[in-house]
């Protein structure tokens, strides 16, 4: 009997029920879209912030001391290096997926037409393969992404696949001083070795690098004679903002308790990523570039907070919209429900009937709304960040709980009214 009545309601009053379902669907879609975007905005903004360049530098363990002991002016006396083959270890650490790019930066003083210039050897779009314990790690990485703020004023970005290793890019200021154009061939000399480099592009960086020459790593290694070694590696990683635990760990990870250590190690703090890099490459010392790492944390925090508050507002709006309609939907049916009471239905039975009908409608609406909202989230992700927004299980959970709660709360005033309903008055039309 109960189910026949429920079925009857849907068959006869489908228009009203559809309207409630549509409102619930709209509310649920706002909630889904906002929650998904909110939960993913941190990662998205973090990726955008990668345009600031690397936030971790890796240098040989005792390089800082050694270069002081000899002559600070001459880079050639650097005696500590990171072996080129070791650098693949970066792809094996716990947070390897958070490392977006890395590239060696080998700088050497060289002579160009009689003046001393800084020559930097690096990867541009290098394809790196690394074998460890039978697993092959591979990745394309290099300066192309780590120097995204470069303006190529002439020619093009050095492409390792297209250009030979004896190609170079020249900073705009140096190019102007020496009258170098893209397509020219320049001769550089370094500790007695000379090389002809073809200039493929002129770049403007807006800092000291405008006076540098950038070339391939192989070319620099040949010129400086340091073999397959790296002097410094720049790493760009997606990190979580520092909190109390990170500050505590930064002082000394060994002072943390067991649980704290695990939590710290398994969170993408800049300090734990540095720590893991040092574990993987013991002869290297990784340190955070504070300018980048700190600011990223701050901006991420603000963006997330902003999105959270906007989300709360939208959820509030959606909630009110739904409960409004649920209330008016139930009240409209006072005549029908009064009739039920008149023929002997108890308050409990009527309430159960109304709630069941509303719940079924809500769930159908919420399911439709969830997928609609997810589509909205993708529209936002694609149009703002040109990448998909990840589907979050948490968002689905929050939306379900929210919709059920809202529907129940929205029905309360209506149900209270039903309890007080006096069949004779309503049916008589005095209401």
């Amino acid at each position: 009997m109960f189910f026949r009545m429920v079925r009857g309601t849907f068959a006869r009053q489908w228009k009203k029920m559809l309207m409630i379902a549509v409102t619930v669907a709209l509310g649920a879609s706002i909630a889904t879209a906002m929650l998904n975007v909110m939960l993913d905005v941190g990662d998205k903004i973090n990726e955008e912030l990668k345009t600031y360049g690397s936030n971790i530098t890796v240098i040989p363990q005792s390089e800082a001391v050694i270069s002081k002991l000899y002559d600070v002016e001459n880079n050639d006396v650097q005696t500590e290096y990171i072996e080129e083959e070791k650098i693949g270890e970066l792809m094996t650490i716990f947070w390897a997926n958070n490392i977006t790019d890395f590239a060696p930066v080998n700088d050497t003083l060289a002579e160009l037409n009689g003046t001393e210039v800084t020559l930097v050897g690096s990867w541009f779009d290098h394809h790196l393969e690394f074998k460890k314990k039978g697993t092959v790690y591979q990745r394309d990485t290099g300066l192309t992404n780590l120097r995204s703020w470069w303006d190529i004023t002439e020619g093009e970005m050095l492409d390792e696949q297209k250009h030979s290793e004896n190609c170079a890019m020249v900073g705009v200021q140096l190019a102007a001083e020496q009258n170098i154009r893209s397509g020219d061939t320049v001769t550089v000399e370094c500790s007695g070795r000379t090389k002809q480099l073809e200039v493929v592009g002129i770049f403007e960086s807006g800092d000291d690098e405008d006076n540098y020459i950038y070339t391939t790593l192989d070319c620099e290694q040949e010129l400086s004679g340091c073999g397959d070694m790296m002097k410094k590696v720049e790493v760009s990683a997606i990190t979580s903002p520092d909190d109390e635990l990170a500050v505590k760990a930064a002082r000394n990870p060994s002072l943390l308790s067991g649980d704290e250590y695990d939590l710290w190690y398994c969170t993408a703090y800049v300090s734990s990523i540095c720590f893991q890099i040092q574990e993987a490459i013991p002869e290297a010392s990784a340190s955070a570039v504070r300018q980048i790492a700190d600011s990223e944390g701050k901006i991420l925090e603000k963006t997330q907070l902003l999105m959270t508050l906007i989300t709360v507002l939208s959820l509030f709006g959606a909630t009110l919209g739904i409960s409004n309609l649920v209330t008016s939907g139930v009240m409209e049916r006072s005549q029908e429900l009064a009739l039920l009471k008149a023929v002997g239905a108890t308050n409990g039975e009527v309430t159960l009937l109304v709630l069941t009908e509303i719940m079924i409608t809500s769930v159908i609406g919420a399911a439709a709304g969830y997928f609609l909202g997810f589509a909205f989230a993708q529209v936002i992700g694609q149009s703002v960040f040109s990448s998909a927004v990840e589907m979050s299980g948490m968002a689905a959970f929050i939306v379900i709980v929210l919709i059920i709660a809202v529907t129940l709360v929205g029905s309360i005033p209506a149900i209270r009214m039903l309890m007080r309903l006096r069949p004779s008055e309503v049916l008589h039309g005095g209401h």
């Binding site: 409102t23 879209a33 008016s328």
Partner: protein, 379 residues
Amino acid sequence: MIVALLAIVVGATILSGLEMIYYDVPRQMSAQFRSYGANIIFTPSGDGDINNDDIEKGVEVFGSDELEGCTAYRYENTKIHNMPQALAAIDFESVLKTSPYWHIGGDMPSGNGMALVGAKAAEGLGLKSGDTFVCVNSFEVDESVDTSDIPSYEMYTDPESGETYCDHELELVCSGILETGGSEEDYIYVTYDDITALTMNERGCDIVEVSAAGMQEDLKAAAEKINSMGLTISAKLVKRVTASESTVLTKLQSLVFIVTFVVLVLTMICVATTMTAVITERRKEIGLRKALGALNSSIIGEFMSEGLVLGGIGGILGSVLGYYFAQFVSMNVFSSSITFRPLLIPITIAASVMVTGLACLIPIKSAVDVDPALVLKGE
């Protein structure tokens, strides 16, 4: 009616709140981006140093709201334990404004005789905070140097060339260790008075870091203006900071825009469904009026004006509530108050009236079309 009004108020609140946030986000976020430090640097325009008076003239181009801070650096090469060491003179009070990312272990120097030692320099020299060290500056003594202040034991004469040299010493206390992860760690920072005492030479500075809020184009225009003033400084944008800041800010603003738009459309639909429900409920009333001889146009007019008034009231309430919401967000996220934009209020009210009007149109039309006899009979 209350139900419909509530829906309109909520819709208008969301609209006006998000509008205000949308317009204020670039300004507020831009201030946050100042934690990346300087985005403009002044370098000497010709050979020689920057005249300190010109720095003030240069930064005057920025409004007081825009200018976050400015720090002048003067570099000198000295020796510590016979090892070359670069010293930089700065104003310790203002440096954290242009370099908020500096981590200092120990204390910031509070006056003359104290130094902030970069982490790498400290490692090389074996210095901890609290340690004392001696800086030596060697220079040739000629007629221009006032030798009266120099102790005689610091001066010596080269037997071959017969020229007099001086190894002027200055004792400094390392009050803190500077950690940045960048090249700043190679330097030792001291006050201007100390470096003048050490070099016995007063001159301008080598580089000025300026941190100013603004989008890339504004900063570019400001830099060009400074460069055209004919000062001893040449202003340059730190491209890495300004270019990236513009990218992120543009993304963020378009994010808020799209979110506003999506939320807006959905709230509008919510308002529309509520209005439909409210009017459908009054079908009987419409039927009765028609039966009593009311014209369709007078019914439409009455219901529409009712809807529009509702929309207007909702819009006014919504813009006030929206302002408070935006203010709440701004205070919580950026700890600064939001700029009040009066133009947004009429926009919100107009939008709210329009949407309510549109939302009423369809249900009223369908309600007017019914046969009064059928409605009144209850079918």
